[in-house]
Amino acid sequence: MRRIAIVGGTKGIGRAVARQLVARGDRVALLGRDAADLTASASDLAARAPAGSVGPAATAHLDLSHPETYEPALDAAARDLGGLDTIVVTAGAFGTQEALEADAEARERVLSTNFTQTIQFCEAARVRLIAAGGGTLCVLGSVAGDRARKPVVLYGATKAGLAYYMQGIDLRYRDAGLRAVLVKPGFVRTGMTAGLPEPPFAANPDDVAPAIVRAIDRGTPQIYVPAIWRLVMLVIRWLPGAVMRRVKF
């Protein structure tokens, strides 16, 4: 049985992952800002847990933009779950390139949430997991971080930076017992992507959650979900700049 803290577990991919974990008997703590939202999601998880599970879901207050909330949140999660061996971050901010270019405030929010705040939190998580003798840190990146593309310049840059960080801590701390798992989702139908034109291979959160759980179990350093995106991004990474300047995607 795993003891997992999830940031962003009330919505989208995080919600689907939390449900998968709880359904197989793991214990989950949801970390976030909105207490009512956390409680509602914890009730949902409790109802979905197998009969006889004890305290399948807990909640704790965490605000990524306030680093002083990190330690108390992780303390509370560890206390409620009786330990903590896995920390998952699925929270993130998104804006279309047009929206982010037009709005400095939205830009600041996406850049700081996805890069600075996420990495600050991961640092706290990393230290705690290693101190406890090792554990898994799973973070959601994006295929947008694999190659700069016209519609996702700013968002892609944050995810590229995050990917570098995850690769780095995998190299540096795997021997110390840290398993850094970077998940790169393609287009997944969530509230974050609502209203965007749907590319091929679009998936639902429930479709990608099993692969993410498997990666957490195995400690896979990097996975694409759905898996087809590994191939797609392989091609896109190799396209010359002259081509990328011409295409719209």
Binding site: K11, G12, R15, D37, A40, D44, R48, G191, A194, G195
Partner: protein
């Protein structure tokens, strides 16, 4: 662009999605779930209308394992409910032929299933709901509190308000498997007789009919089922089948009358001549097409419609035959025909089921033909005192609908009480219920 399951009509517009349904529905003109109604019930009346999509709001709020009461957000699907609760001995009390239906959608359509003759519609099992009325207020409704609003919402096609959460009583089942039986029947008369007969002893019944070709007309298969007792089901574990997506639309000629004739021939052969018993997976028994996601694409880009009507028992065999003769005479192709007997009418003010026989007929949309076919069959149905199922309908004209259903004005009066400005509308309510576009 938005369309229903039949992929006709297709209208401009887009849906807004969020996990936060109470915020999303503020100022919205229509809420849709999975868009599995066939015609225009889930489509906006104008391209600029605010359409809220409920499917991300899918949290269980509470489940009481003693009573089976499940309280959940309106976007939770029957598929999710079954997969979560069937292993614990609970199943949805009523299910249509697909599990890709949200709770809100099941209430709005007041869906019925193979057990209608026993269990009635979905609405019979709803304890209470919470909705955002057209005024913007959040209202709780149940048989005791605001019963008019509750009854109008059951089968009200989402026009009485935006459903936020629903409490429904699940059905306790002795195992996760269905003890099923199929019986080949050579003609329509025997088919209906066997179906009605099956209803006296079986909780789940349905008939499939081969309506193509003069020779085969009326032959079919009667399906009967009940939940297997734990001892009969044994220790087998229930594994849900993998769902396969259909990536592209079939060319328009893929489903031809010729091909379908062979398909029907195969179905008949599969069920042999006589009665077969088997222990069936609930997915096979209740949702045979759910494992093939987007099967609607098999009808090609032009889309298809499902004409579903109910005819009172007194209409009789001659009328049933006339329906199929009319469709054939006008060049229609009734590819898939499903027949079911309905039990008593429920409390829904605009619900479709009423005592009689219901026929669902899948037809590809054919330019210039389909409208005429539906008009001609509606003439028969209206004359016999039957009515059509709005969830499937895309072609019925307002005059026909009014002739079939005298309840429209009373329904609209309840709507107006909760939505005096007429904010909540759909393409269907403009087409059939007299709403301004």
């Amino acid at each position: 662009m938005l369309s229903g399951w039949g992929r006709w009509p297709v209208v401009p517009g887009h849906e807004l999605l969020s996990e936060d349904l109470p915020s999303l529905t503020c100022g919205a003109n229509l809420t849709r779930g999975l868009g599995r109604s066939y015609g225009d019930a889930s489509l906006p009346s104008t391209p600029t209308a605010r359409v809220a999509g409920s499917r991300l709001a899918d949290r269980v709020i509470a489940f009481d394992p003693d009573s089976g009461a499940l309280h959940a957000e309106a976007g939770l699907t029957l598929r999710d409910i079954n997969r979560t609760f069937l292993p614990r001995g609970w199943f949805v009390p009523v299910t249509p032929g697909t599990s890709f239906v949200t709770l809100g959608g099941a209430v709005a359509s007041d869906v019925h299933g193979k057990n209608h003759h026993r269990a009635g519609t979905f609405g019979r099992h709803v304890r209470r709901l919470r909705l955002r009325a057209g005024t913007g207020d959040v209202v709780e409704a149940s048989p005791e509190v605001e019963p008019d609003l509750f009854d109008a919402t059951i089968g009200g096609m989402g026009l009485t308000g935006h459903m936020l959460d629903v409490e429904v009583t699940l059905r306790r089942v002795p195992s996760s498997w269905i003890a099923g039986e199929t019986e080949y029947v050579p003609d329509l008369e025997a088919l209906i007789e066997r179906l009605l007969d099956a209803g006296t002893t079986w909780p789940y019944t349905l008939a499939w009919m081969d309506a193509l070709g003069a020779g085969g007309r009326g032959r079919g298969v009667v399906y009967r089922g009940r939940w297997a007792e734990a001892a009969d089901a044994g220790a087998r574990t229930l594994i849900w089948p993998r769902e396969i997506a259909v990536p592209i639309s079939a060319p328009y000629w893929a489903l031809s009358p010729f091909g379908m004739r062979w398909f029907n021939e195969l179905v008949s052969l599969r069920y042999g001549r006589g009665i077969r018993h088997s222990l069936m997976h609930p997915q096979t028994f209740f949702y045979p097409l759910d494992s093939l996601l987007d099967w609607n694409k098999a009808y090609g880009r032009r889309g298809f419609t499902q004409y579903q009507c109910v005819l009172p028992h007194k209409a009789g065999l001659a009328t049933y035959r006339k329906v199929f003769q009319t469709i054939e005479a006008r060049g229609g192709a009734p590819y898939v025909v499903v027949i079911k007997d309905f039990g008593a009418e429920g409390r829904g003010r605009l619900s479709f089921p009423c005592p009689g026989m219901t026929f669902s007929i899948d037809m590809p949309v054919q330019d210039g033909k389909t409208q005429g076919i539906v008009d001609a069959v509606n003439d028969i149905v209206a004359a016999e005192g039957g009515r059509v199922y709005l969830t499937k309908d895309a072609f019925t004209r307002e005059a026909h609908y009014r002739a079939m259903d005298a309840r429209v004005d009373a329904f609209n009066a309840i709507r107006r009480r909760w939505d005096p400005e007429g904010r909540i509308r759909s393409a269907l309510s403009v087409r059939l219920l007299g709403d301004a576009a």
